[in-house]
């Protein structure tokens, strides 16, 4: 029989190797699934992982990589700080929507004024919108001990309803012939988030994501606050003994993750998406949870995980259009990635032993 034996200290090798093993296992199991669906597994895997980088349309798709990875990384880094502290913000999708609505509202309110200060104010409003939406579960948790997982998740659906209201009502384009959706920010220079270098997909949101990765890395490695975050997640009683105020930490971590999700929404609505529409949100806030764990809740890991996840998004889209795969199969494929990651995760803290008969 196999049995698991707890390691005295977590294995450094396996902490780094588990994501690689998880990706390989996902390819194997996913390939099997694609095979059952009647597709050539090798062709599908190649379409997902290889073609976006080196295939025929790579010149366009490579740029899309950063466009997709930017918001994922930005949100995931914020979530990872809370996850490290044992604070489970599952509602980044809602905070992302609210950030977009708040930021867009500021921009649209002053349309068509041209002023350099407009975009910075919109950025602040976007962060504020996400922060406010995250403060609701944070305050309910600290005041009434509610579960932040449920509250933040339910607030996603509230945010979606507000988004629909905005697109159909208070933010609808007055010159849009009654169609739902706001004005397009791409035709409003003071409030738009353009591609900074043509063909790279690099926009201000991607820049913000890179800065956030570096800041979070420094915070966790060098700063007292990062230590307190890690301590609270690993040993809550030791954290209180050290002097961490659990209430303040919940408010802070929820606030940071909410504000970063709001920023991601603002950069998205003013850039790649262009406008507030009913189907503006595409699940970045949920996928970022996978990205955070795939990146081992480590900022640098999240950077790589965000790029990888963006790749499966783009490649998955290619696979569904070119090879006729149902989009549910692509989502299942992405789900497998998280599943296998959590499953092999056990190797970093446990080693597998063959147990001999007679020993307990």
């Amino acid at each position: 029989m196999f049995r698991l034996e707890k390691r005295p200290t977590p294995s450094r090798f396996w902490t780094g190797a588990t994501p690689v093993v998880a990706v390989i296992l996902t390819m194997l199991a996913g390939g099997l699934m694609f095979g059952v669906l009647g597709k050539n597994p090798f062709e599908v895997i190649r379409t997902i992982f290889w073609d976006p980088l080196f295939g025929e349309f790579a010149w366009y798709l490579r740029g899309q990589l950063l466009v997709k990875a930017g918001p994922l990384i930005l949100i995931a880094v914020g979530l990872s700080l809370g996850f490290r502290a044992g604070i489970w913000n599952i509602g980044a999708e809602g905070q992302y929507i609210m950030g977009a609505i708040f930021g867009a509202s500021v921009g649209l309110a002053v349309f068509p004024t041209e002023n350099r200060l407009i975009y910075p104010v919109m950025i602040a409003a976007g962060a504020f919108g996400g922060w406010v939406w995250a403060m609701i579960p944070a305050i309910l948790k600290t005041r009434f001990n509610t579960n932040e997982i449920l509250v933040s998740l339910m607030l996603v659906y509230v945010a979606q309803s507000i988004l629909a209201m905005a697109a159909l009502g208070f933010l609808r384009n007055p010159e849009g012939a009654g169609f739902p959706g706001s004005r397009n920010f791409n035709s409003y220079p003071a409030a738009s988030n353009p591609e900074l270098i043509a063909g790279t997909g690099m926009h201000w949101g991607v820049v913000a994501a890179f800065i956030t990765v570096i800041a979070a890395y420094v915070l966790l490695q060098k700063h007292l606050l990062g230590f307190q975050i890690k301590l609270s997640g690993q040993a809550p009683r030791a954290a209180r003994f050290h002097g961490v105020n659990p209430t303040a930490l919940v408010v802070l971590c929820m606030g940071i993750s909410g504000a970063l999700a709001g920023l991601a929404g603002l950069f998205e609505v003013t850039g790649p998406a262009g406008q507030i529409s009913i189907d503006f949100n595409t699940g970045y806030g949920f996928t970022a949870i996978i990205v955070a764990f795939l990146g081992r809740l480590n900022p640098l890991g999240i950077l790589l995980a965000g790029l990888l996840m963006a790749l499966t998004y783009i490649g998955g889209e290619m696979a569904s259009t070119n090879l006729g795969l149902p989009s549910a199969a692509i989502q299942a494929f992405q789900g497998m990635l998280l599943f296998f990651l959590l499953a092999v995760d056990v190797l970093s803290n446990y080693r597998v032993r063959m147990s001999m008969k007679g020993t307990a």
């Binding site: 060098k222 890690k230 301590l231 030791a238 003994f241 050290h242 002097g243």
Partner: protein, 513 residues
């Protein structure tokens, strides 16, 4: 004197190894009928593994045992019990919500009807001087009474050999007397008793023979009555022990006591914890206050209130005349407090963090390990290395996780971390829990050295000998209330016993299972 009695159990060349550690190596000894045999050794010497093999819980790798002349290799406790071996564990396995008779019935192979069993329990408890009412709920019993339930459960099996693992660690001196009377009576009736302990005076008072273990090996046997406690301690440790020395005391001429607790009452934040009720005491600079009491009587809560993990109303906790009740742990460290909670892994230290990070856990403030909120890891590593060196912490280095250390080594690290911060007020719960005698002596010496340098010290401990050795004044925490502290000088063991149990009534002592 023992050779006259027939041999009951003979252990020959028993060896048991676990990954990375040899728990028992070539252990041999004999127990005679009607003999009280001590198994003496420090924590980790291999006592528990040895008795688990006798009780059928663990299988030896090598060696053999004979029971009344026949080969004996119990495959499970049931087989050991059938042969006539019974064991009272250090940690009780009782259901609080059931009464005494029901608990006893649960531990028996073929329990009789509850009425008949209750009558039998009463009969046995009277015969052996262990007063116990079979209809009482176990949840309402004191630790000593709970132990009686376990003992009576064993006695109902009519054992030939009764194994007792550290039985007195939860008892008051009076309860210890009652237990010893019972054990002597049992021995006189022919039951052999294997008595595991590291308390030397008890062994001298009770046992006929002693087998001394050190690092898994038998290092000697003796007749305890003929040896002094120090001689046995030195056999157990394998080194010459020096008692802690107290530096010269001086009058610091303070206007206010270093620590002043006035009518401290707080609810317990711990489920099934004990609330503190109007606890008052003062500790001057250079003074060591020892607080005794059975675990679960408010020790944890007192430490939390002193460390700042529980905030208290203005005026309840004062340091040099200034109220610190509303301050959190780091603010208290800033004005000179250090504290060491009882639970090392998870409370005093973060299990998965390295010793460097754990050094930072409490050393950040007083050692100045941050600059503008950024952590100076080089200085922290240096601090951790110095603790490891000064307190002889056995570890491959400061980079290993706290949970990789043995209990005793982590204990040394935690105590060393606190005592290395030039404190003014020291609060320690169970300072020498789990460490060997030599390290315990070093820790006690370090505490006394800090007191000599002018620190006010509060030591909470269940080890009476330890408290009497290092304390200037002595008080007992019982059901959340603290007796008035009394000077240790001139205190008799009877007075201590009264403070521990008699004054408040033994049945009020509350111990979580």
């Amino acid at each position: 004197m023992t050779s006259a009695k027939p041999v009951l159990l003979s252990v020959e060349g028993i060896t048991k190894a676990y990954p990375g550690v040899v728990a028992n190596a070539d252990v041999s000894f004999q127990i005679h009928q009607g003999e009280v045999h001590a198994l003496l050794g420090e924590n980790g010497a291999g006592k528990s593994t040895l008795v688990k093999m006798i009780y059928g819980l663990v299988k030896p790798d090598q060696g053999r045992m004979t029971w009344r002349g026949a080969a004996y290799a119990p495959s499970e406790p049931r087989a050991a019990r059938a042969a006539g071996v019974a064991m009272v564990f250090q940690h009780f396995s009782l259901f609080e919500a059931l009464n005494v008779a029901e608990n006893v019935a649960l531990g028996m192979e073929n329990p009789p009807a509850l009425g008949a069993l209750a009558a039998k329990i009463t009969q046995v408890s009277e015969a052996y001087g262990l007063p116990l009412d079979p209809t009482r709920m176990v949840g309402d019993l004191s630790a000593g009474e709970r132990q009686r339930v376990e003992i009576i459960r064993c006695l109902l099996q009519d054992p030939k050999l009764l194994i007792m693992d550290e039985p007195t660690s939860v008892l008051t001196p009076q309860e210890v007397d009652i237990l010893f009377k019972t054990l002597r009576q049992l021995a006189a009736e022919g039951t052999a008793i294997l008595y595991i302990s590291h308390k030397l005076e008890e062994i001298r008072a009770l046992c006929d023979e002693a087998t001394i273990l050190r690092r898994g090996r038998v290092v000697g046997t003796c007749t305890p009555r003929e040896r002094t406690a120090r001689e046995m301690a030195e056999m157990m440790v394998g080194a010459v022990l020096t008692p802690p020395e107290r530096g010269a005391k001086k009058d610091w001429g303070d206007n206010h006591p270093a620590l002043e607790i006035t009518n401290l009452s707080v609810e317990s934040p711990i489920p099934f914890g004990t609330a503190l009720k109007a606890v008052s005491f003062t500790v001057q600079r250079g003074e060591v206050l020892g607080i005794a009491g059975v675990a679960g009587n408010g020790q944890d809560e007192l430490l939390l209130a002193l460390s700042g993990e529980i905030r208290t109303a203005e005026g309840m906790v004062k340091a040099t005349g200034v109220s610190v009740g509303p301050l959190g742990p780091n603010d208290r460290r800033r004005i000179g407090f250090v504290m060491a909670p009882e639970d090392r892994l998870g409370h005093a230290a973060a299990p998965d963090m390295s010793l460097v990070e754990n050094a930072f856990l409490t050393g950040a403030v007083r050692k100045g390990l941050t600059r503008h909120g950024f952590i100076d890891w080089a200085a922290t590593r240096d601090f951790a290395d110095r603790i490891i060196k000064a307190y002889d912490v056995r570890t491959p280095g400061s980079h290993v996780a706290a949970r990789a250390l043995s209990g005793g080594n982590l204990q040394k690290f935690v105590i060393g971390r606190e005592l290395s911060q030039s404190p003014d007020v020291i609060v320690i719960n169970q300072p020498t829990w789990g460490v060997d005698a030599a390290a315990a002596a070093a820790i006690r010496q370090a505490i006394l050295d800090r007191a000599t340098e002018g620190a006010a010290v509060v030591v909470i401990s269940q080890d009476l000998d330890e408290l009497l050795e290092i304390s200037d004044s002595f008080a007992v925490l019982n059901a959340g209330r603290l007796t008035a502290p009394r000077p240790v000088k001139g205190l008799t063991i009877d007075q201590i016993g009264l403070m521990m149990g008699g004054a408040h009534g033994m049945e009020t002592a509350h111990v979580p299972a």
